[in-house]
């Protein structure tokens, strides 16, 4: 290129530069929309909670202990295998009243265990402890155990399969 580029020539060069950068950026944005959208989809699209049968009403003793019940989670995919399983602590409080708690500790989500003799839920990770009504008894949890909706339907006990409860601020 000659040293003495005229103004017109320089504008032409700048024009090519701007067009090239603009074309690259537009292509990146156009392709980026479906890519980013696809990657972020799971945080936008929420599956509908669904009722899952966990046993017959007669299978649970009135005033008995908490029993761990397993059921299939809200969004089972064909290749999910055992990871489609979900669980809750269920107790029959009276003839037709059931109570269900998430197995996830409200602190950081570790699985709490029902300790029958102590009538406490205990978490193995950081020592969270809950009373039988789900309220905090000891340890770091900022709130009580999350409760899941339960209903009796045609003699069957059903739990509303819900997301893993996330404790937010």
């Amino acid at each position: 290129m000659s040293e003495k580029t005229g103004t017109g020539d320089c504008t032409r060069r700048q024009f090519f530069m701007h067009v090239s950068i603009a074309l690259g950026s537009i292509a990146a944005v156009l392709v980026g929309i479906p890519i980013v959208g696809s990657i972020l989809a799971p945080i936008i699209k929420k599956p509908k909670p669904e009722w899952r049968v966990v046993g017959t009403v007669d299978g649970f003793k009135v005033g008995g202990d908490y029993v761990k019940v397993d059921y299939v989670n809200t969004s089972p995919l064909p290749w999910a295998g055992v990871t489609a399983q979900s669980a809750a602590w269920l107790r029959r409080e009276s003839e037709d009243k059931f109570i269900a708690f998430s197995v996830n500790c409200a602190h950081l989500g570790c699985p709490v265990r029902w300790i029958e003799g102590a009538k406490l839920f205990m978490c193995p990770c950081h020592g969270g402890v809950y009373y039988e009504d789900g309220s905090v008894a000891a340890g770091p949890p900022p709130r009580g155990l999350y409760q899941y909706p339960v209903r009796v339907n045609n003699g069957q006990v059903e739990i509303l399969a819900s997301p893993i409860p996330i404790t937010t601020v």
Partner: protein, 466 residues
């Protein structure tokens, strides 16, 4: 001239490779960098190469499907030729990489090699540290067993504490609002494509900067960095006294790297890969998700932080550490480099190592966790095999006391040791404490009947130094 040599000469003539790479390999470096002190960065690179090679090999067999990954890992470990060793090398290679990154970073900090003109060397290194940590975590998750599933949930819960964005971030980590079919595919994509691609880019950048700015000379006390004259001084010194990097300095990198790689191979053969836990079933609650050793200190930190401020510590703690590391070269990029003249730097390193070691040691015993597998008290310890004393001892076993309190070496560590509690508290005080709890102990007023309570108090009162 034999055929091989002729072929090489032809190839080199057409590609110009020796002319392009030779001068870079042989570039002059300060003579005092050709020491055993300068081998940790290259050793990190060698372990990274090992991770790439073993990782690609594992991907030949591993099935990144939430339902089948576990079986494919079992298959790799027990059925395939050398699969156990390759998995072992990938695991211990990760440990070695974390360790070497840590040593490399401490050494760069202690000798202040991050000062002018190497600020970007440090910053690209901080990015590499973050990427390596993410690789460590996602690597533990793609080892898709029970611990992996619960670790993912714990990570999502931590992300959930971020103000405003918490729930989105948690769902992003889980790949939805619960663990399932989407979770592992995403973790696999991070671990195998996304983060390694970033690692390649930043390692390339990091190495380019090492060549561009030159390897930093070993610091001398009383020889401060002055940005106005440093480059000239460095170039003059290298021109006058420099030695070629390859092979005069590099042979030590090769020797140390050889030892590191062979050690990883030996450990992989002798110890093998970590045992797979139970299958990744989120409804199996008999889980205690403890991370691999290099994250145990953080696991302890999560347990020990005061609950009132834990959200801030959990969210802003790591951010603050990252930000401080990132800003370090802007806080001080000139002046003394020798650790002899930088006592605060030495103190910070010592304090950091002491804190991490302390957290690590305490994380291994996890005294804050109830010990569900504690051995029950025996008749010998109780001192009776019938009557109220015996019944009280049995209550101690059955009512959950044992998981948190130790008596005569049996029990958990969460609460105080009660071996001699009879010397410290009266029967009334014991009753009050058991009924109401307090000081992080649950109250048992609603659990124990009068008989059980009086037996338990009688038993505890009998725990005395004779």
């Amino acid at each position: 001239m034999n055929f091989l040599k002729r072929t090489w000469l032809w190839f080199d003539d057409r590609t110009g490779l020796s002319g392009a790479i030779g001068p870079i390999a042989r570039h002059a470096v300060p003579p005092n960098t050709a020491t055993w002190f300068y081998v940790f960065g290259s050793a990190t690179l060698f372990t990274f190469m090992l991770q790439v090679a073993t990782g690609v090999t594992l991907a030949f067999i591993y099935v990144p499907s939430s339902g089948e990954a576990y079986q494919s890992l079992q298959y790799i470990t027990t059925q395939t030729t050398f699969g156990r060793i390759v998995r072992g090398m990938h695991n211990w290679g990760a440990s070695a990489m974390i360790l070497l990154v840590g040593i490399h970073m401490i050494q760069v900090y202690l000798t202040a090699a991050y000062k002018f003109p190497r600020e970007m060397n440090w910053i690209s290194g901080v990015v590499l540290l973050a990427l390596t940590i993410v690789m460590g975590f996602t690597g533990q998750v793609v080892r898709w067993d029970q611990t992996a599933v619960w670790s993912t949930i714990v990570a999502a819960e931590q992300a959930g504490r971020v103000p405003l964005l918490g729930e989105w971030l948690a769902d992003f980590i889980l790949g939805g609002d619960t663990v399932g079919g989407t979770t592992l595919s995403r973790m696999f994509a991070y671990h195998v494509f996304l983060i390694p691609a970033l690692l390649f880019v930043f390692i390339g950048f990091h190495l380019y900067l090492v060549i561009k700015n030159g390897i930093s000379e070993f610091p001398r006390a009383g020889d401060p960095v002055d940005p106005a004259s440093y480059r000239e001084k460095y170039e003059a010194m290298v021109k006058q006294k420099g030695i070629p990097f390859w092979p005069d300095a590099a042979w030590k990198d090769m020797v140390f790297g050889f030892i590191v790689i062979c050690t990883i191979l030996a450990i992989a053969i002798i110890i093998g890969p970590p045992e797979l836990g139970p299958p990744p079933n989120p409804s199996d609650i008999h889980a205690l998700p403890v991370p691999d050793w290099y994250f145990v200190f953080y696991f302890a930190f999560l347990a020990l932080m005061p609950p009132e401020i834990e959200t801030y510590l959990m969210v802003f703690g790591p951010l603050l550490v990252g930000l401080l590391l990132f800003c370090l070269p802007f806080i001080s990029n000139r002046g003394e480099r020798s650790p002899l003249r930088r006592p605060w730097a030495v103190a910070i390193v010592a304090l950091t190592i002491a804190t991490i070691s302390g957290l690590w040691a305490i994380g291994i015993t996890s005294p804050w966790s109830p010990h569900f597998d504690a051995k029950p008290l025996t008749a010998e310890i109780i001192g009776a095999d019938s009557g109220p004393l015996w019944r009280g001892g049995m209550n101690f076993n059955d009512k959950g006391c044992l998981y948190c309190h130790t008596i005569s070496g049996h029990g958990g560590l969460r609460g105080p040791d009660l071996t001699y509690i009879g010397d410290r508290l009266s029967a009334n005080e014991l009753t009050w404490r058991i009924m109401n709890g307090g000081l992080n102990m649950p109250g048992f007023g609603g659990t124990l009947n009068n008989q059980e309570l009086s037996d338990l108090v009688e038993f505890l009162s009998s725990r005395k130094k004779k």
